[in-house]
């Protein structure tokens, strides 16, 4: 970074008066970076290291040891859990691929009027927490659910969609397939038409063309999406817990800590395994993608040529798409039915319909909603502020070690919510907050901080992308006209990044609002519970399901409204900017 000569009129700061060795001269931006680094170390790096350290310590003597891991692998329950987590994650990736591949292929390769349908409906699963849908899925696909009741009546068979691990796989793949859909579609769209035409010119077509050219070129996107699905499923706590599948790693960690206690080393061992697997799959996907920037779209040349569909193909495409969408939206449909239903048991549909669930939900859960808005609001606001600051520091300054801010913030991706929760409990149980009179670990603010850390990687990516769109020349123009660094950031950079920052805010807010893994560990009393935990509490009893579903519907509506609102703002922002240019 080039620094101009300091204006002589500026008053001496504290740093100027102190000896230089005591207080190295840092630019104000570097100070901001340092502050962010401290937050990340304090609330991410240190708690996780703490968890890892405990896993390698003898619980009594505190000596360094591997015996905890020995105990873990000597227990058949833990071996089973380990295998189950792996099996469920792998199968979820496969099922999610089966769902996403046809949708991605149809939208990118053909002139298909249903594409808009896929683009909008394909993302809906993401705005509902998977554990919320899980209950509704039980009612539709479970042993005595709609589908199996119908199958039994008409064909005398049942299919164990929701039995044990199957249920987790089904719920997870339906929830997480959009990650593959989004990444794969983007990759397919980035393939230059000439890549395909060159192959056709040399004699390839149809399925061979897809297998040899199109799909390999889309693999980076596919692998990125698949790795994300694998990690998410491997780390998820809410869904198996709600489906009462406890022989998986994350539920085991949760149960050990909550029932055996904070000093039981097994929770920590599982945490280390969860983190190790997250890092491993991120690393594996990095290896696969290394040196494979296949985005080949040339300037002026569009993506793959889109073909018109013949009538028969069109019917087939619509059939496939509608069938997939029906399955994908079944948790939503089920949830809606459940929330309006009176009693829904051993019947394809509820016995009757009522608004009573909503009344009961509203009476019992205003506190949950307020808490959620507060926590997710704080988390998302901090995320975009920190995200913007990190993006600016990494992309626009030469501050030493700036990359580490990015690495640290992104490292949160590899830290499951359970692990962060355990880390906070362990680290902050004895840190008393002044004036509140509680340890930090059981103060509600810690929930907001956990959400902030968990969502930071996504907000950061959005801010980075937004800043990369802002031409450096625009900043230089402002600086040459006399605006200082901070004024340039405030008046030029941030306004131009607004769309991206807002997008980052909304994703952070929406996903934080429905997060369960970390919060379930950190909620110390019901009054501090956010919505997601409220739903979880309702769903624990059969009589609370209707109200829980109503709360789930409310959560989906809040998140959907947020998304729509942000879309409107982004569109208006875009229009404003193009109008300014014309």
């Amino acid at each position: 970074m080039t620094q101009g000569p300091q204006p002589s009129g500026r008053p001496m700061s504290l740093a100027d008066r102190l000896p230089a060795f005591l207080f190295p001269r840092l630019s104000p931006i570097a100070l901001v970076g340092l502050f962010i680094a401290l937050i990340l170390v304090g609330f991410l790096i240190y708690p996780v290291l703490q968890v890892i350290a405990v896993a390698f310590q003898n619980p009594v003597t505190g000596a360094l040891t591997l015996e905890n891991f020995g105990d873990f692998f000597n227990s058949s329950l833990f071996r089973q859990s380990f295998f189950n987590s792996f099996y469920v994650s792998a199968l979820s990736v496969i099922v999610a691929t089966v769902i996403a591949l046809p949708l991605a292929y149809i939208t990118t390769r053909f002139n298909f009027s249903g594409s808009i349908l896929i683009q909008s409906l394909g993302f809906i699963p993401l705005i509902m927490p998977p554990f919320v849908g899980a209950v509704a899925m039980q009612l539709i696909f479970g042993r005595n659910g709609t589908i199996n009741l119908l199958l039994r009546d008409h064909f005398g068979i049942t299919i164990p969609f929701m039995e044990g691990l199957n249920g987790v796989i089904l719920v997870q793949s339906i929830h997480y397939f959009p990650f593959i859909l989004i990444n794969l579609s983007a990759s397919l769209r980035n393939i230059d038409r000439s890549m395909e035409e060159a192959a056709q010119n040399l004699g390839a077509h149809g399925l061979r063309l897809f297998r040899r050219i199109v799909f390999p070129l889309a693999t980076p996107g596919y692998v990125a999406g698949a790795a994300l699905v694998f990690i998410k499923v491997f780390d998820d706590l809410g869904t198996p817990l709600l489906l009462n599948v406890n022989n998986m790693l994350a539920p085991q960690a949760y149960l050990r800590i909550t029932s055996v206690g904070l000093n039981d080393p097994m929770g920590y061992v599982i945490s280390v395994i969860l983190v190790a697997f997250s890092i491993l799959s991120l690393w594996a996907s990095f290896l696969v993608m290394r040196g494979k920037d296949y985005a080949t779209v040339q300037k002026g040349g569009g993506g793959l040529a889109k073909r018109d569909l013949a009538l028969r193909e069109k019917i087939l495409a619509y059939g496939v798409v509608l069938f997939i969408l029906l399955i994908v939206l079944s948790p939503h449909i089920g949830l809606l039915l459940l929330s309006f239903g009176t009693i829904w048991s051993f019947a394809p549909l509820p016995d009757g319909y009522t608004l009573a669930n909503y009344v009961r939900m509203w009476e019992g859960s205003q506190q949950y909603v307020m808490n959620t808005l507060l926590y997710a609001g704080i988390a998302a606001t901090l995320d975009v502020i920190i995200g913007t600051a990190i993006a600016y520091i990494v992309l626009r300054t030469g501050i030493a070690g700036r990359k580490w801010l990015d690495y640290m913030a992104t490292a949160a991706l590899a830290v499951p919510g359970v692990v962060l929760g355990i880390g906070y409990l362990r680290t902050f149980q004895n840190v008393d907050v002044p004036l509140v009179g509680k340890p930090l670990a059981s103060w509600w603010v810690i929930i907001a901080i956990a959400l902030m850390i968990r969502r930071l990687p996504y907000a950061l990516r959005a801010c980075m992308a937004a800043l990369q769109q802002v031409s450096l020349a625009l900043e230089e123009a402002a600086e040459s006209l006399g605006a200082g660094k901070f004024r340039t950031i405030r008046r030029i950079v941030v306004p131009l990044m607004a769309g991206g920052i807002l997008a980052g805010f909304v994703t952070s807010f929406a996903t934080a609002a429905v997060e369960l893994s970390a919060t379930i560990m950190l909620v110390s009393n019901d009054r501090d519970s956010p919505l997601a935990y409220g739903i979880y509490l309702f769903m624990q009893t059969p009589s609370g399901r209707g109200a829980g579903a109503a709360l789930g519907v409310l959560a989906v509506v809040i998140v959907a409204l947020g998304t729509v609102l942000s879309q409107i703002i982004i569109e208006r922002d875009k229009k404003l900017r193009t109008a300014g240019r014309a």
Partner: protein, 356 residues
């Protein structure tokens, strides 16, 4: 590598993108083994025409015959037409060898034969040592050659080159176009080369078609097009042209050209009376200090030194005229503002009758 030479015949080809007509009434005959260029500005339809021959883009109306067989309705993979893309379109997930082998594999050529033919093709473009590299490890010029090898290895009936030199830097471009021509001569492959650069077309092609607005303006050798353009577009597109508007007058067997400003140039007898444009190349005009018979008075506006030549911009006959004088050492140049007289060599000029 052997190829049977095949000619290309295009008959009454029309093509539109939806409502927009892109190509109109294309008739073209390319001889076997010919190096043929499609020359035109961007948007002239030259690339669209090339892509139509390869089978890409909307289905055209009309016939495209290669070696006497109409291929206009065949899909791209059945045409046996080799195309080198502007972006080279090397597949980044395959090694150089795999890229080159692709077309042969699609043709179910035996494995051993694929190996020898790929080696031959790589040797042909002089890049045998790069066979195991990935495309993103190659320079632009190398990628270009691999793309060429990938196309010629399937021994296509014709070779289509879509602006093959546009992504290379200037010095490499000159070298590559010589190599292209040498390769084409060696293989005897009927070749179409699309370019917007007249110098590229002039230096490589046996004949060319100049396109504008989706219509072929003129077909001929580079020399024919330069010396005898049939219309003002071709005259302007190929080299620098001074165009004066006026009339041809024929009196007592002697023809004269009277410009709009009333100046008169004498013409060789062949002129036909009527409103006409006269095309004068910069080297066909001399600068004289004294007025003479049929000279145009003018004033020097601007001077550029081009090395072998000095180029003057002279205001005369109500327009600005470019004049090239060959440069000799120590010569004294005219300065802007100098009064001069222009003498045109009308024997080398082209008369283009104005329509309507």
């Amino acid at each position: 590598m052997k190829t049977e030479m095949a000619g290309i015949e295009i008959r009454d080809l029309h093509l539109s993108f939806g409502e927009t007509r892109v190509l109109t009434g294309i008739n073209l005959s390319i001889k076997p083994g010919e190096f043929f260029a499609f020359l035109g500005p961007s948007g002239s339809g030259k690339s669209t025409l090339l892509r139509a021959i390869a089978g890409f883009g909307p289905q055209p109306r009309g016939e495209i015959l290669i070696g006497g067989r109409d291929i206009a309705t065949l899909p791209p993979w059945k045409r046996d037409v080799g195309m080198v893309f502007q972006s080279y379109a090397l597949w980044p997930h395959m090694s150089v060898r795999d890229n080159v082998a692709f077309g042969l594999e699609e043709r179910k050529v035996p494995r051993a034969e694929i190996r020898t033919r790929v080696d031959e093709a790589l040797a042909l473009v002089g890049l045998s040592h790069l066979a195991d590299r990935m495309p993103n490890q190659l320079s632009g010029g190398q990628q270009q050659r691999i793309a060429l090898a990938r196309t010629v290895v399937i021994e296509p009936k014709v070779l289509l080159l879509d602006e093959p030199l546009s992504n290379l830097d200037a010095s490499l471009r000159v070298q590559m176009r010589r190599e292209l021509l040498a390769l084409q001569r060696k293989l005897g492959l009927t070749t179409i080369f699309v370019t917007h650069d007249q110098e590229e077309a002039n230096t490589t092609s046996d004949r060319m078609a100049v396109l504008d607005g989706g219509v072929i303006q003129q077909i001929g050798t580079p020399q024919e097009l330069y010396d005898r353009p049939v219309n003002l577009f071709v005259a302007r597109f190929l080299g620098t042209a001074n165009i004066l508007e006026g009339r041809v007058e024929v009196e007592a067997g002697a023809a004269r050209f009277r410009t709009a400003t009333g100046d008169v140039l004498s013409l060789p007898v062949e002129g036909r009376a009527g409103p006409t444009s006269i095309v004068l190349r910069p080297q066909n005009i001399r600068i004289e200090e004294q007025a003479g018979a049929g000279t145009l008075p003018g004033e020097v506006l601007h001077r550029e030194f081009l090395g072998s030549q000095v180029r003057y911009l002279v205001r005369a006959a109500g327009t600005e005229i470019v004049v090239d004088q060959s440069h000799r050492a120590g010569e004294i140049w005219l300065d802007p503002g100098a009064r001069v007289h222009l003498a045109a060599n009308t024997r080398d000029a082209v008369l283009i009758a104005q329509e309507g």
